[in-house]
Amino acid sequence: MSTILLIEQILNGLQFGVMLFLMAAGLTLIFGVMGLINLAHGSLYMVGAFAAAAVAGVTGSFVLALIASLVAAAAAGALVELLVIRRLYARDHLDQVLATFALILIFSEGTRWLFGSFPLFLDIPTAFAGPVMLPGGIQYPAYRLLIIAIGLLIAFGLFQLIARTRIGIQIRAGESDREMIAALGVDISKLYTIVFALGAGLAGLAGALVGAIQSVQVGMGEPVLILAFVVIVIGGIGSIKGALVGALLVGLTDTLGGVLLPELFGTFMEASAATAVGSSLASMSIYILMAGVLLFKPTGLYGRA
């Protein structure tokens, strides 16, 4: 394997990780602050992608499509919080899983009813359509670089929001002791709605960004959701920093595992058998990583006991 290919794969892993972070950040905030397991987070990702595809189809503008994805997913999130999620905080996790699973079905069938069963078209903007030449002779798709940049920018913004703003202080306080901040006069139910809408908006943005290079179709959120859960288990529940580190770890492990493991097995096995064994092991790699992390840090890398 050449160095150029390796660097290219590391970039791919980074891009994948950054996308996972946008999903996992919302999930971990919601779980950390409200103690709520939200299986419907993947549906909000889908809502974002469909909103972007619809707006891009009408206006032809990618920037407007991204804005639409943020707004639509945040609005859907706020609505869901007000109508459904609000009734679930006091109940146990099994009830939450059941109710949010029902939301997945409602979102999926609702989207199908609105947009039909066939995938929608959302293309990347022409300015980013081709590859760019990076130093060292690496040819890399411009759009993926854009995703990495947007993702890192949002990660930075989120850290600032949590660390430096009033609402960030309230969010952090809500994680530690919700009774106490309610007693201090913070409107806890408004805070929950805002956090939920924020998480939903991030998921929607991720859906739109990824939708342009993948298929915009019903059910697109569920595979990503599973990975996002792995990310927050690795990173530690409720920690934004954990979500970032976990997402990058998962992105890199998944990408590099898929490339390196078959090659590793190829050194001592017959080619087609090595491909099969290596690919199978590669699909397990992130779960092995998760098990490994939990073995040494049962609450995740940045989780509190």
Binding site: S2, I4, L5, E8, Q9, N12, G13, Q15, F16, S108, E109, R112, S117, F118, P119, L120, F121, D123, I124, A129, G130, P131, Q139, P141, A142, Y143, R144, V210, A212, I213, Q214, S215, V216, Q217, V218, G219, M220, E222, P223, T255, L256, G258, V259, P262, A271, S272, T275, A276, S279, S280, A282, S283
Partner: protein
């Protein structure tokens, strides 16, 4: 007292005879398990719509169809099959799209004496040693479209292909099928995860591999993702593949990235025969969209069943099976017959993705394999 017994007896007799009348006498109950929700829904919906169009056009009141959604999950497909066999008492089953689901349902269904007509999945395990007298595949054996792609690649002189497919039964059949007819060297061979949507790592490997062509089998949304990312990567090697990633239902979502790509299929909407014309026009009139490969397969499956119903009673399994095996109906793909393992022997075409007005679609540019059966028929004995 006697009177009451008599009335009771009469009532029971009436119930029983009603039961009999409902049972057979030419009536056939079909259980269709297919994917109607989630990621692969477009395929199942097209199979269903094609099937129902054919029954509607035939106007046959003796056919009753029960349709259920397997959500692309093997365990749900198995539950639905149990329900259809035990409480719905269907005679014939059909509809499954995915090979892993077919492997979970078909052997059990045929073992319980139900006919199974596959409108799509054709795993090699059911074509060879695992063949069954009650199992018919109306579409193809899984390897077939890939064999056609391999034959085409050899014909136009590709000699160093990079090949990839998802790691599940149909994916393994795909690469086996391509290699069987292609015969050249391989620049790389990759199994991806089923349902994977990011192919950046694979595309980087293709770029570095020194290949002269790419063959891929990635059905549904996987193919859309791959093609869009491939187009943006700057790799410009020629691509060949089976029709599954270039089908009517998904071409609009892929857009320009698919233009000009060659793909192989046993059917296209421009095949010139009366049955196909009636199908394409009827489908557009009924559903307001162009039919896909899957719709054509659902349509043919229903017509095969109707042709058998015209000749035999489903209660007489041997006669019904013989009637099915004759395949005495006008297939939309043109000439077609069943081989010894009850899989198709038919022609395979090379299609090119074109833009017709605003609509992306395919046109046939060559014939790749003629009267082609499958590699497993020899292993099948009843």
């Amino acid at each position: 007292m006697k009177m009451r017994s008599l009335v009771l007896a009469a009532a029971l007799a009436a119930l029983a005879s009603a039961g009999f009348a409902d049972g057979h006498g030419g009536k056939v109950k079909v259980g269709m398990i297919t994917t109607l929700s989630g990621g692969g829904a477009g395929l199942g919906i097209d199979v269903r719509d094609g099937f129902m169009l054919a029954t509607k056009m035939a106007g046959n009141d003796n056919l009753e169809v029960v349709i259920e959604d397997d959500q692309r999950k093997p365990e749900i497909a198995v539950q639905l099959a149990d329900k259809m066999i035990q409480s719905e008492k269907v005679d014939v089953m059909t509809g499954i799209i995915w090979s892993n689901l077919a492997m979970a349902v078909v052997p059990a269904a045929t073992a319980q004496g139900k006919f199974y007509l596959s409108p799509n999945a054709g795993p090699s395990a059911l074509a060879g040693k695992g063949c069954h007298p009650l199992y018919f595949n109306v579409a193809w054996q899984n390897d077939n479209l890939h064999e056609a792609a391999g034959a085409y690649a050899r014909e136009i002189g590709y000699s160093n292909s990079f090949i990839l497919a998802p790691n599940y039964p149909a994916g393994q059949d795909a690469l086996t099928g391509y290699k069987r007819t292609y015969g050249g060297a391989l620049a790389g061979e990759i199994y991806t995860k089923l349902g994977q949507t990011d192919y950046a790592a694979e595309i980087a490997q293709i770029r570095a591999s020194g290949a002269d062509s790419v063959f891929f089998f990635l059905p549904g949304g996987m193919g859309i993702s791959f093609l869009k990312q491939y187009a943006g990567s700057g790799v410009d090697l020629p691509v060949v593949g089976p029709a599954f990633s270039f089908d009517q239902g998904i071409l609009q979502a892929v857009g320009d990235a698919a233009l000009g790509i060659k793909n192989t299929s046993q059917w296209n909407k421009d095949i010139d025969n009366a049955a196909n014309k009636a199908f394409v026009e009827g489908f557009q009139a009924e559903y307001g969209r162009l039919p896909s490969l899957y719709a054509s397969q659902g349509y043919d499956t229903a017509n095969l069943l109707l042709s058998a119903m015209a000749k035999a009673d489903v209660a007489d399994a041997d006669a019904f099976r013989a009637a099915l095996a004759e395949a005495d109906f006008e297939s939309v793909r043109g000439d077609f017959k069943f081989g010894p393992n009850q899989h198709p022997i038919q022609d395979y075409y090379v299609r090119e993705v074109i833009k017709d007005g605003d609509v992306f679609t395919n046109k046939i540019i060559a014939t790749s394999l003629t009267d082609h059966g499958d590699a497993y028929a020899g292993e099948c004995s009843y």
